[in-house]
C-alpha cells in the first residue's frame, strides 16, 4: 500500500472514530490488552528477527536492550494500554459556552484532532503506547518507527488492529508504515492532505529533521537542557537532594538536570555537600573557576559549549552566579524551555523565577524530574512539548484533542 493510500484510510477511519463512544473505545483498548498478552509468542518471534538483524548489523548492546521484548515487557505494554482505557475521555467535553446579544449560542467543544503522524526511534513499546493514546482520544494514527524495530512494530500493530476490528471500530485507525526509508518519511512530513499533526519522538537529530522538513504542523518534543539554581537562601540539604535526584536518578531522560547554577554566597557551604552525593554515582563535574577553587582538581574546566549541552549522562555543568537575575538570564539564554528549578527560601526570588524564566515547567523547591504526564496526574503522556503552540509540557489525552465551535441559531443573519 502506498503512503497516500494509508493516509486516505487513516482519514476515513478518523471520521468514524471521532463519533465512537467512550465505551466502544474502552472495549477496543481492553481487547488490545488481552490480545497483546495472548499474542506474546508471535510478537516475540518478530522481535527475535529484529534483534538478529540488529546484531548482524553491528548495533550496540544498549540499543539492542531498548529494542528487545520479553514476556514481562509485553505484559507491561499491555498493562499500559489497560491504564489508558481507565482514563477519562476528553472528547465531547464542553470547555465553555455563551450566548450573544443576537441570541446565537456558542459552545466550544472538545473533538479529536483527526489523524496524528508519529515518527519515532527504536523502542517498539512506543507503537502500542502511542496508538492507545490516539485511539482513546478518538484519533487515527500513522506510525513510522525505526527500521531496527520494524518487524516487532508491524506485529504489534497487526495484533492491535485485530482487536480493534473485533470491537467494531475501524482497524485503519492504527497503521504502521512498512517502509522505513528516508524518502517515505520525508513524504509523510508533507502529507497535510491527510495528517493533521506530526509528533516526533526521539533524539535531537530526528526532531530537528522533522521541524525543518515538515509542512504538516509539528509538535516539537523532547530536548531538555534543564537547570537547578541554588539561591543564596536555599536549604542546603534540600538543594543537595534535589540536584542529586535531578541529575543522577535517570540521566538519559529529557527532564534530567544538565547544569547546576549556584549563588556565590552559598557555594562554599553547598557545593561540597552536593559533590558528596554526586560522587556516589561518579558524576563528572564541569565547573567554572570558583567551583574549581572550592571543589578542587577533580572538577573539569567548563567550556562555553557545556552550558548548552544536553549531556544525558553522568556529567553536570556547574556555574556560580552573582544574583538570581544572572541565573534567570543564563537559563533564558542556554535553556531549551523545558523544566527549570529554583531552590530558595526567599519569597521574592521564588516569584521572580516563576515569572521570568521562560519554560514549560518552572519549579520552586522540587526536582525537574516531575515534568512527566504520570507525575502531573495525566495518567500517561505522548511526549513533552517544548514549543509554545497548542501544548506545553507533558501532553496527555487532552493535548491530543482540539476544539470546535458549535453555534446554535434561530435564523440569525449578519
Amino acid at each position: 500500500m502506498t503512503l497516500e493510500e494509508m493516509g486516505a484510510r487513516a482519514l476515513s477511519a478518523s471520521r468514524l472514530l471521532a463519533s465512537a463512544g467512550t465505551s466502544a473505545k474502552n472495549a477496543a483498548l481492553l481487547g488490545i490488552t488481552k490480545a497483546l498478552v495472548e499474542s506474546a509468542k508471535s510478537i516475540l518471534a518478530a522481535n527475535a528477527l529484529d534483534i538478529d538483524a540488529a546484531r548482524a548489523a553491528g548495533i550496540n548492546e544498549s540499543l539492542i536492550d531498548r529494542l528487545a521484548l520479553s514476556k514481562e515487557r509485553i505484559q507491561g505494554i499491555a498493562d499500559g494500554v489497560a491504564k489508558v482505557a481507565a482514563l477519562d475521555d476528553p472528547v465531547g467535553m464542553t470547555d465553555s459556552g455563551w450566548q450573544r446579544p443576537n441570541g446565537i449560542k456558542i459552545q466550544k467543544v472538545r473533538v479529536p484532532i483527526g489523524v496524528i503522524g508519529i515518527i519515532f526511534e527504536a523502542r517498539p513499546n512506543v507503537t502500542a503506547d502511542a496508538a492507545a493514546l490516539c485511539l482513546k482520544s478518538g484519533n487515527a494514527c500513522l506510525l513510522r518507527g525505526g527500521k531496527e524495530a520494524l518487524r516487532s512494530n508491524l506485529e504489534i500493530a497487526r495484533v492491535m488492529r485485530g482487536a480493534i476490528k473485533a470491537a467494531g471500530l475501524p482497524e485503519d485507525c492504527v497503521q504502521v508504515l512498512d517502509d522505513t526509508s528516508h524518502e517515505t518519511a520525508a513524504k509523510m512530513m508533507k502529507l497535510g492532505k491527510y495528517i493533521d499533526v506530526l509528533i516526533p519522538r526521539g533524539g535531537k537529530g530526528l526532531i530537528r529533521s522533522v521541524v525543518e522538513n515538515a509542512t504538516v504542523p509539528v509538535i516539537e518534543t523532547g530536548a531538555g537542557n534543564c537547570h537547578i539554581y541554588v539561591d543564596e537562601t536555599a536549604d542546603i540539604d534540600m538543594a543537595a537532594n534535589i540536584i542529586f535526584n535531578a541529575k543522577a536518578s535517570r540521566p538519559s531522560v529529557c527532564n534530567a538536570a544538565e547544569t547546576l547554577l549556584v549563588h556565590k554566597n552559598i557555594a562554599k557551604a553547598f557545593l561540597p555537600k552536593a559533590k558528596e552525593l554526586l560522587d556516589t554515582k561518579n558524576v563528572q563535574l564541569r565547573g567554572d573557576e570558583t567551583v574549581k577553587n572550592i571543589l578542587g582538581d577533580s572538577v573539569v574546566p567548563a567550556t562555553e559549549e557545556d552550558w548548552s549541552t544536553e549531556f544525558l549522562d553522568y556529567i553536570l555543568a556547574v556555574k556560580t552566579v552573582e544574583r538570581v537575575d544572572e541565573a534567570i538570564d543564563h537559563i533564558n539564554k542556554y535553556g531549551t524551555r523545558h523544566s527549570e528549578t529554583i531552590v530558595t527560601q526567599s519569597y521574592a526570588n521564588a516569584q521572580k523565577f516563576l515569572q521570568l524564566v521562560d519554560a514549560a515547567a518552572v519549579y520552586v523547591n522540587a526536582s525537574t524530574r516531575f515534568t512527566d504526564g504520570n507525575e502531573f496526574g495525566f495518567g500517561a503522556e505522548i511526549g513533552i512539548s517544548t514549543q509554545k503552540l497548542h501544548a506545553r509540557g507533558p501532553m496527555g489525552l487532552m493535548e491530543l484533542t482540539t476544539q470546535k465551535y458549535q453555534i446554535l441559531g434561530s435564523g440569525q443573519i449578519r
Copy 2:
C-alpha cells in the same frame, strides 16, 4: 539593521513586556491612539508616496483603495487600538491548578507566547491592529507587510514606537521590516531562534508559501470554502435569508458561503425563493442538472472545480443532495474546515451535522458570516485559524497566549 538583529531586539523586548502590568500596556495603547490621530499628517504623507508609487507601477484601483488612508481611516485605526486597551488581559490568569499526592502544587498559568511574526499584504491598518493585539497580550511582534504599503507601515510603526517608549515600555516590541524582499521573508520563516510563531494574513498564495517554507510554527488562517446546507425540513424563508446573507452581504471575506447544498425534496420549493433574493445582487449560480431543471437556463453548469473554489465573488455553486449524510460527506471532502451551516427543523439532522462536519465553526440555522472575533464576543481578532493545533476559528487575545506550568514544592524528589 539586519533581520537577525531585529529578532534579537524583539526577543529582549518580549522578555520585558511579558512582565509588564495591564495598566502599563493599556497606557501605551491609549498613548498610541492619541499619537496616531496627532500624526495623521505624517502618516498621510507617507501613504501618498505609497499611492503614487503604486499608481506608477500600474496597480489596479481596487488594490489602491485598500492601500489608501484618510483622516477618517486613521481615526478608525486609532479607535481600534483604543478598543484593544479596553479588552480583558489574559496574561496571568490561572487556567487550572491542583495538588499531587506528594504535595507539589501545579498551576497552569497564561503567559504571552513571546515573539510573533506576522506576514501580511497590502492594507496598512493591519500594522496597527496586529501590533496592538500583540502588545496587549504581552507579545513582541515582527511585522512584514507588502511592499506597496511599506512607507505607510514604517510611519505607523514609528508613531507607535514613540508612544510605547513614552509609556515606559520597550519600543522594540513593535518592529516593521524595511526590507520587503522575498529573500528576507524566507529568512524570517526560518528564524526560530527568535520567533515563536508566524501568522500569515492574506491571500491563498501567501499562506501556502508560509506553510511550505516556514520552520517556525505557523498558524494557518483564512481560506474559507464555506457551505450552507438546506435540509429537507428547513424553514424556506429562513434558509433563503441565510444563503443570501452568507453569500451576498460581503463576498470577499473568508466566512462568506461559496456552495449551497439543497436536499432534493425541498429544492423545487426553495431554490426559486433563494434565486429571487440572490438576483437582487446579480449572483451567478453554477448548478448541477437538477438545479438547472428547476431554475432554468440562467444557471451555469457547475464543474468539479467549482465545488472546491473559494470564489470570493458574486458566484455561488449549487448542488442537490439525496440526504444529510451526502451533504456532510461533500463538505468534509471539499470544505476548508472553516464555517459550515445546516438549515433544518430536524433535531436529529442538526445533531448529526454538528457532530460529523469537520470545521472550526459548525452552525445550525445561522449565517456563516458570524465566524469573526467581534461577532463571537472577543472584541477583536488577529485572524481566523483553519488548522487544528493551538487555535481554531477566530483568534483573539486569548489565542495570542500560551501556558506555563508553575510548580510549588517543599523539597520533593522523584
